[in-house]
């Protein structure tokens, strides 16, 4: 009875992959424990403990200002760029603390790629956008190797057929959806382990959104994906695990199906049924 009532307003089918539950015993790729973040002394998230599974999609949901983007940006230390930002607690990637003393953010960010809310291709050619990462990291210096990486990345991002004839055209001439897929291709060109996505579809139309969601589903066979989204339907469609943030706290984390059908916390229930948020 309760289950039906919850499913109906969402009216989506859940991701068919059962990775979330089947691989429950597998070691977590990223482990956050006791993470606190504050901006200029004002706390943004408090005491977040979260395990993120390898090769699965974890969605972070919650109302605006709940700290989900802040948490995402802690994982690849993009928050370092904000001078007033203070992070405590620990986040590990494959059991290594990303805030450790000997960690080089350049190396860290090669392992953890990021896709942003608004498509942000460099104002250069399509080829240069994808080739930039491998080039600065010295992953390919010879022309043929680089061509191969660019082609492979664009194919994985589902953009190759649309742009293969105009790789030298400026990236800013692509449509919004194509630009976002180009940004995904750029992120995977350096062969990261993890891809962080910060509301990657919020600036896109429904068709472009559907293509990105398909792509995310496809990418999880190779990468660990953490996605922040405002759309509960999207979280339900693409994620295996879902974490609900509220007022800077991680309220609940579980299989996507459980979060959307039978959450254990009242606040989660209220949010997924649409009464708060």
């Amino acid at each position: 009875m309760l289950e039906n009532k919850l499913i109906q307003p969402l009216n989506v089918s859940y991701s068919s992959d059962e990775a979330g539950s089947e691989r429950a015993d597998e070691a977590a790729k990223i482990v956050a424990s006791g993470v606190n973040v504050s901006y200029a002394g004002r706390p943004a998230i408090t005491n977040v403990n979260l395990n993120i599974r390898s090769k699965a999609v974890t969605a972070l949901i919650g109302p605006s200002g709940c700290g989900k983007t802040t948490f995402l940006r802690c994982i690849n230390r993009m928050n370092d760029l904000i001078e007033t930002c203070q992070v405590s607690g620990s986040i590990t990637l494959d059991n290594e603390d990303v805030y450790g003393d000997d960690v080089d953010v350049v190396v860290l960010r090669r392992r953890i790629g990021m896709v942003f809310q608004k498509p942000n291709p460099f104002p250069k050619s399509i080829f240069e956008n994808v080739a930039y990462g491998p080039r600065i990291h010295g992953q390919a210096n010879k022309g043929d190797d680089l061509n191969e990486i660019v082609e492979r990345s664009l194919i994985r991002a589902g953009l190759w057929d649309e742009v293969k004839d105009r790789l030298d055209a400026p990236a800013t001439g692509l449509s919004g959806g194509q630009q976002q897929r180009l940004c995904i291709a750029r992120a995977i060109a350096v062969e990261p382990d993890v891809i962080l996505m910060d509301e990657p579809c919020s600036a896109l139309d429904p068709i472009a959104t559907a293509r990105i969601e398909e792509l995310i589903d496809d990418l999880k066979t190779k990468y660990t994906i953490v996605i922040v989204t405002h759309s509960m339907q999207q979280a339900a469609r693409v994620s295996q695990r879902t974490a609900f943030f509220h007022l800077g706290e991680l309220v609940e984390e579980n299989e996507a199906k459980v979060i959307f059908t039978n959450p254990s916390d009242d606040r989660t229930r209220a949010y997924v049924t649409g009464s708060i948020g």
């Binding site: 960010r109 090669r110 942003f116 460099f122 104002p123 600065i136 750029r186 992120a187």
Partner: protein, 428 residues
């Protein structure tokens, strides 16, 4: 059936105050247009008066005389060596040529005023022609030689009473002028001397070439220094420096320096470059360094604004893919800020080109008759040349002053044009 014409419910009178609001709009449009017209008319007045006075500087009056260059009269033996040519007494040749034309008997005093119609420039003209064409020696050559500045002004001035009265030619000279004109011995030609010679005490041989070279050297030094130092400082402050009291203090000081009167930078240059480092006085190197001090704040401020205007998403994209700070800045941010940085640099250069006060303090005000060939030789600069000529008592310098201003304006126009072209190119 007559219908009473009353305003509809959507007309302006249907709502109180609307008519007055529209009237306010009209008033503002009128005032704005008037302001633009006033400034345009000032500009037009300025251009008309400068061009009207200055175009004369690009023209000069030449007199045709038959010059006796036969070996007998020169007292030389064939063939003439280079040394012979250098030793020819050109002044007396020019004088006797004048006497040949005006055949009437003239006394000693009158003869001097006759020779005065061909000034120092005529001797230099003749020497240059003979050095260039030595085959003329042994012949009687009919040559056009530059007249003195008084004759030049008399020729260029309109024939109205006022200018006749103002002329410095004596009545006798005016008579001779009429004779020469009747014989077709007077013409107006383009004044290449103005663009190829340097400063002189005689207006008819004075030119802007030396000042142009001096300005060019000084601007080159200034461009190099302010570009390198200014852009590096801006990039560091904007992209690398932490935001704290110390950088705020720096920022306030840079903003204040941009508003400091330029003569102050001249005093600073005098104290540091000449007094402390002992660099040569009047040198374009020091001039360029002083101008660089003056333009640095402008370049830093405009470069920082250009860097700030680059979308933060580009920085995030670069950092997100693992670029280091230097890579993010120099691969992505600086190229995107380039049009703005260049505009700032070129506008700073344009200001430096027109600046006089700081150059006066380091001795670039001196009378310098030779164009500099190195950075450390004494040099003049275009705006200083304008200042010097404006101060000269000879009437011939009045049009030279306006002419030099025209040259300066053309350079400014070219630099601004370059700024536009470069910006277009980088924005692509």
């Amino acid at each position: 059936m007559t219908e009473r014409k009353s305003p509809g419910s959507l007309s302006s009178s249907a709502m109180p105050g609307v008519v007055e609001r529209h009237r306010g709009e009209e008033r503002f449009k009128f005032l704005g247009l008037a302001a633009i017209l006033v400034s345009l008319s000032f500009l037009a007045f300025f251009l008309v008066s400068i061009i009207g006075t200055g175009y004369g500087a690009f023209l000069q009056t030449a007199l045709k005389v038959e010059v006796d260059l036969t070996y007998d009269s020169l007292g030389l033996v064939e063939p003439a060596t280079e040394e012979d040519i250098a030793n020819i007494r050109y002044r007396s040749i020019v004088r006797s040529a004048m006497r040949d034309i005006i055949t009437e008997d003239v006394g000693r005093r009158e003869a001097r005023t006759l020779y005065g119609m061909l000034g120092a420039a005529a001797e230099f003209d003749l020497r240059d022609i003979v050095v260039e064409q030595p085959q003329l020696i042994g012949t009687v050559a009919s040559l056009w030689l530059t007249s003195s500045d008084d004759v030049d002004l008399y020729n260029k001035g309109d024939a109205s009473e006022a200018s006749q009265l103002q002329t410095r030619l004596s009545e006798k000279q005016q008579e001779w002028y009429a004779t020469l004109e009747a014989q077709g011995r007077i013409k107006t030609r383009f004044n290449w001397t103005f663009l190829t010679s340097s400063d002189s005490r005689d207006p008819e041989v004075a030119g802007v070439y030396g000042a142009m070279i001096g300005s060019f050297f000084a601007l080159g030094v200034c461009l190099l220094l302010s570009c390198v130092v200014g852009v590096l400082a801006a990039v560091y402050l904007e992209e690398f420096a932490a935001r704290n009291r110390w950088t705020q203090f720096l920022e306030i000081n840079i903003n204040n320096l941009a508003a400091v009167p330029s003569i102050t930078f001249g005093l600073l240059g005098l104290a540091i470059f000449l007094g402390f480092f002992g660099l040569p006085r009047s040198a374009s190197l020091v001039g360029g360094m002083v101008l660089a001090l003056m333009t640095l704040p402008t370049v830093i401020i405009s470069s920082r604004v250009a860097l700030q205007a680059v979308a933060p998403s580009i920085r995030e994209a670069a950092f997100g893919i693992g670029a280091s700070r230097v890579q993010a800045v120099f691969h992505h941010v600086v190229p995107l800020a380039m049009p703005g940085i260049l505009t700032g640099v070129i506008l700073g250069m344009a200001r430096a080109l027109g600046e006089t006060a700081p150059l006066l303090m380091i001795g670039m005000i001196a009378f310098i008759a030779d164009p500099p060939s190195t950075l450390t030789q004494p040099a003049s600069a275009l705006p200083v040349q304008v200042y010097l000529w404006a101060d000269s008592p000879e009437r011939g310098f009045a049009e030279k002053t306006a002419g030099a201003i025209l040259v300066l304006l053309v350079f400014l126009l070219l630099m601004n044009l370059m700024a536009v072209i470069l910006r277009r190119k980088f924005e692509k």
